[in-house]
């Protein structure tokens, strides 16, 4: 929501004043390809990367980090059952309090804060991966 409105306003700004570089963004490569007269505003903005752009976590990386975290969690009863689809209480034998601890560990691992309601919905590894991927500020 916020991201789309940001892009829209940035695009509008570029369209309104194509000559000015916006102060928050820096051109990645200013080469002969980008001569100011020929480029369209949208293409111009694509060649620019904001400092606020998100780190781009891949799904495999997120999954691997969450699985590692669970492997080190001493209450996981059966490590062999650990997989990307495993459910915290059904497969791993964790109760709701343990789930809270797992969510806390995930919060720390990715340096984000998960609100109560969302935290309540995380019951399985793939739900957690999905949630982390939907957060632009997860690291």
């Amino acid at each position: 929501m916020f991201r789309t409105s940001l892009f829209r306003s940035a695009r509008a700004a570029v369209r309104a004043a194509p000559r000015f570089q916006s102060p928050i963004a820096r051109p990645v490569a200013r080469s002969f390809l980008f001569q100011s007269k020929q480029i369209t505003p949208a293409a111009y903005f694509q060649a620019v990367r904001c400092y606020s752009a998100h780190a781009g976590l891949s799904k495999d990386e997120v999954e691997g980090r969450i699985l590692d975290l669970l492997k080190n969690f001493d209450k996981v009863s059966d490590v062999s059952k650990l997989s990307a689809q495993s459910h915290f209480s059904n497969d791993l034998g964790l109760d709701s309090l343990d789930t809270v601890e797992v969510v806390m560990a995930i919060e720390e691992e990715f340096s984000i804060e998960i609100p109560d309601k969302e935290a309540d919905a995380i019951h399985s590894v793939d739900k957690a991966v999905e949630y982390i991927l939907s957060q632009p500020d997860a690291h």
Binding site: D95, L97, D98, V100, E101, M104, D116, K117, A119, D120
Partner: protein, 86 residues
């Protein structure tokens, strides 16, 4: 689950998280604290009555204050020990 019950559930989870954060500095170690806290909360898991749950939350708040007081005492003792040695 009704919204009231959900609200209570979130309150319980919040106080559980706060206590866990506090327990990291516990003198007997975090693992000791964590297993005891888990047992204490799990033993109250069968509470259904709203007032009973509220009482439980109040008790947890009280325990939280006690742990804070324990840390102040620990710090005071350490400081006193260091200053008396010189």
């Amino acid at each position: 689950m009704s919204s009231k019950a959900l609200n209570l559930r979130h309150q319980v989870i919040r106080i559980y998280k706060e206590l866990l954060y506090l327990g990291r500095e516990y003198p007997l170690g975090y693992d000791y604290f964590r297993s005891r806290l888990h047992k204490a909360f799990a033993s109250q898991a069968n509470l259904k009555d709203e007032d009973q749950i509220k009482k439980g939350i109040e008790r947890a708040e009280f325990v939280k204050k006690e742990i804070e007081a324990l840390y102040y005492l620990k710090r005071y003792r350490i400081l006193r020990q260091r200053y008396e040695k010189t």
